[in-house]
Symmetry: C2
Subunit: 502 residues, 2 copies
């Protein structure tokens, strides 16, 4: 295993996960690698969770702030949340135990646009970063680091942390070397320059992460698999959503509003997104590109078929089977895939320049096209906004999609007013459910409402939405965005009381 650690000095700092975890203290802010299930540290967070749990049993105060790339694995968020080790978590999570702690009011959570995280740390807005815990695939003789299956905020954690703990994971294939593009040209204002990326597949940086070797206080060897999620095969609902999007994109090409090879795709992660990618893969398009946060199974299939010529992302988010296939032919994929820091994968400058087609899921939308990506019934966090705001605001086309109902039909995804807003009407151009697609571009709020109710709402909720709109048009205090404030949120209130929105 130790052939992955070629720098003699860092070899000398090899230690156990328990000893490394002992270097983290109560009150520390800890920057961890990890973006989706990929590339998070595997053993130090678990050793740290044991250390903190022991301290709690001794009656000692021991809680930390945990900053990551995005969501991580049960070995990180799950292990730490289980023992109530986190005082604060940012910027995105999707772990059930972590979510439960947040929604019980037992830990603080800050939901941040993924493109903002690194710069806010550089600006000093989150306070000092005490420790970085970063998984790497290897260490070169000169101390440079081969990144793992995600980059996320690792560049910033390594640069900003007072102490650095490296997990060298020999389970990660050595062939990952050269897959990454770490841009070292970012600065704080007023010293920023244009970022010289003009094509999704451009390489503008270096394949390695750098670290001040004096800051490395521990190196831990591991051999643990990334915990990647399985995708469900597309069902009729997700296939219908995919079909509407495919029709729309073809319509846009036909009318000259998109080139034949479209524009770079961004896709959220999850089963609906994967179904849309499958739909694109079975469609007429060839030679597409992707500039996105995560490379999931659907994109790998598109790369295999040639539908997708290249993909840029901040992380792999492949199922175990797809990951095995990817790892088996890294020399092939290295020419087609670039992994980048999330401040670059999600950078507003680049998303606007490239003209991304952004496709993101949602929890609910209202009849005027405001989207809630994060909160269940206005109060409970689901995961977080992730990069959806980076992409939606700056995209060429901003598409949001979801099934039109949830909880077996008890919840309508389309409501009079969303219980929380993550994407305002200004940033939502297209809404899609299995029932249809509402093209909201160039439409006033009242015209949006008609389109959304007609095309997107589930038939079982459509009459009630129409009734709300008509009564609002008759009785609201103004007719730009007519609302009846006494009942705008009553569907959610009813669900909380009765278990059904109707």
């Amino acid at each position: 295993m130790s052939s992955r650690i070629l720098h003699p000095g860092l070899r000398g700092r090899l230690m156990s996960a328990d000893l490394a975890a002992a270097l983290i203290h109560d009150g520390d802010n800890v920057g961890m690698s990890g973006f989706t299930g990929s590339g998070s540290p595997k053993v130090v967070p678990q050793a740290l969770a044991r250390r903190i749990d022991d301290a709690h049993h001794r009656g000692e105060h021991f809680r930390i702030g945990v900053w990551t790339g995005a969501s991580t694995s049960a070995e990180l968020d799950g292990a730490l949340a289980k023992v109530n080790a986190m005082d604060l978590r940012l910027p995105y999570q999707s772990d059930p135990q972590c979510r439960a702690r947040i929604n019980a009011g037992q830990m603080d959570y800050i939901d941040v646009h993924l493109s903002h995280v690194a710069q806010y740390v550089w600006f000093g807005f989150f306070g000092p970063l005490d420790v970085a815990v970063v998984e790497v695939a290897g260490i070169l003789e000169d101390g440079r680091l081969i990144p793992s299956t995600s980059i996320g905020n690792n560049k910033t954690w390594l640069e900003q942390a007072g102490k650095v703990i490296l997990e060298v994971n020999s389970w990660q294939p050595a062939g990952l070397e050269g897959m990454h593009d770490v841009y070292y040209g970012t600065e704080r204002p007023p010293h920023r320059k244009p970022i010289p990326l003009v094509h999704p597949n451009d390489r503008i940086g270096e394949p390695y992460l750098k670290v001040d070797l004096d800051k490395v206080v521990a190196v831990v060897e591991t051999h643990h698999a990334d915990k990647s999620a399985e995708f469900s095969p597309p069902d009729a609902t997700s296939r219908a959503i995919a079909g509407h999007i495919l029709d729309f994109l073809q319509h846009e090409v036909k009318h000259g509003r998109l080139p034949a090879e479209l524009l770079p795709l961004q896709s959220g992660v999850g089963n609906i997104a994967n179904a849309v990618l499958e739909g694109l893969n079975n469609g007429p398009f060839k030679g597409l590109t992707a500039y996105t946060e995560v490379l999931q199974d659907g994109m790998l299939e598109m790369l295999k078929s040639g539908t997708l010529a290249s993909a840029s992302s901040a992380a792999l988010a492949l199922s175990p089977a797809a990951l095995a296939e990817f790892n088996a032919d890294l020399d092939h994929w290295r020419r087609r895939v670039v992994l980048r820091p999330q401040e670059i994968s999600n950078h507003p400058e680049l998303i606007r320049r490239l003209g991304i087609i952004a496709m993101n899921g949602m929890i609910e939308a209202d009849i005027y096209g405001n989207v809630n990506s994060t909160h269940v019934m206005g109060s409970s966090i689901m995961n977080g906004i992730g990069g959806s705001g980076d992409f939606a605001r700056n995209a060429y086309l901003s598409i949001f999609m979801a099934p039109s109902t949830a909880k077996g039909g008890a919840i309508s995804t389309l409501v009079p007013m969303v219980s929380h807003v993550d994407h305002t009407e200004h940033d939502v151009q297209v809404l899609v459910t299995e029932n249809g697609l509402a093209d909201l571009r160039g439409k006033s709020p009242r015209k949006r409402a008609e389109l959304i109710i007609q095309h997107c709402a589930h038939p079982s909720f459509r009459p009630e939405l129409q009734d709300y709109l008509e009564r609002a048009r008759a009785g609201a205090s103004g007719q730009h965005t007519p609302h009846l404030l006494d009942e705008a949120l009553s569907w959610h209130g009813r669900y909380l009381k009765t278990g059904h929105m109707r």
Copy 2:
């Protein structure tokens, strides 16, 4: 007067405003110049309003779509709204008659981020632009155009419109020539390149607008003043808001989170914004810069004193007295002031690169830091989002400010839940009222609520907000962003019923 029209061919197309207005037809989309009261066409819109009014009296259908830079003057929005001439208006307005038509449901209005307008027209998202009506200060011998006191979207209107009508306004000083910087390097994706601006005062384009001379169907001579608004002198409330912001900026410099000369300032328009600028002008700062949408009186004072070294904007928004002072010494100001197209003044790439300090007004904010910039009681539009989203999302620091009450204390600016969201919690870092400043950076929603209630709310509403928060923390369905959905909007409902939020 005609010495302003040096191109012989265009001199040959001189005609009256009435004849020019006769070239605009029912159903046309018309792109007009104008950004604040500056640089809008003065006589053709009024002639058009008469023409449309006559048609309506004859029982004919005649309504048009009007696209502008931002708000315009009573001669444009007011005249056309008065005769119900507009089917659709975008992207920003502030005219009382226009607002009344929208809120009565008599005309459609699309509220668009100002940086998005030009590109959406280029993308074809708003349909074809039939006519451009653009005020210029003069026409060169080769047909290039000297822009007027605003640029707004004029470059795009001239390029995209099928027909062009020019108003050559000899009231505008000839010395405006050379003040402008029109960037011709924008493209549609996938052909976009980095925009080479790295300092707020950089000139990256040309001082003139270009037009395909074959498209110019009419040239109209005018000699009419811009209708600029007067500012009220700062009152105790706006001075208090300014004081809190000044203290905060000094605190940030002291802690190394801002350089001594700060970062480029963006300021919304209006009396509060002007008071903040006056406060900055009386503060300790020197050699600041501005990268903003509008140059208002406060910034001119800062330029005069040397507090501000340079200012970049899309328009002048000076009071008559300040405008006279500006016009009297254009050779001086031309070295310190750049007027740009709004796609450049508001470009996310540039706002993020420069690291702007964004200061914008608001209608209301909620206890979790979501901001409503546009809607009164959730349904009626006030003006529009303008550029506040372009700046807030991409700023180094995003500050929103307002007095803590309105309507003589009947309305609390701080409410349990805003009745409309334009800027989500993700984009709001600092909230300021006359009572104090809440620094929300790195704070979870529940901590934000405590800060906002404590520092920003008016004492007469503070106990009720605190009571709402405590009951939400006890009874909400989740504790990340605790809300009681049955009463979250009840303050607005109560105001609509009783005229008071309490």
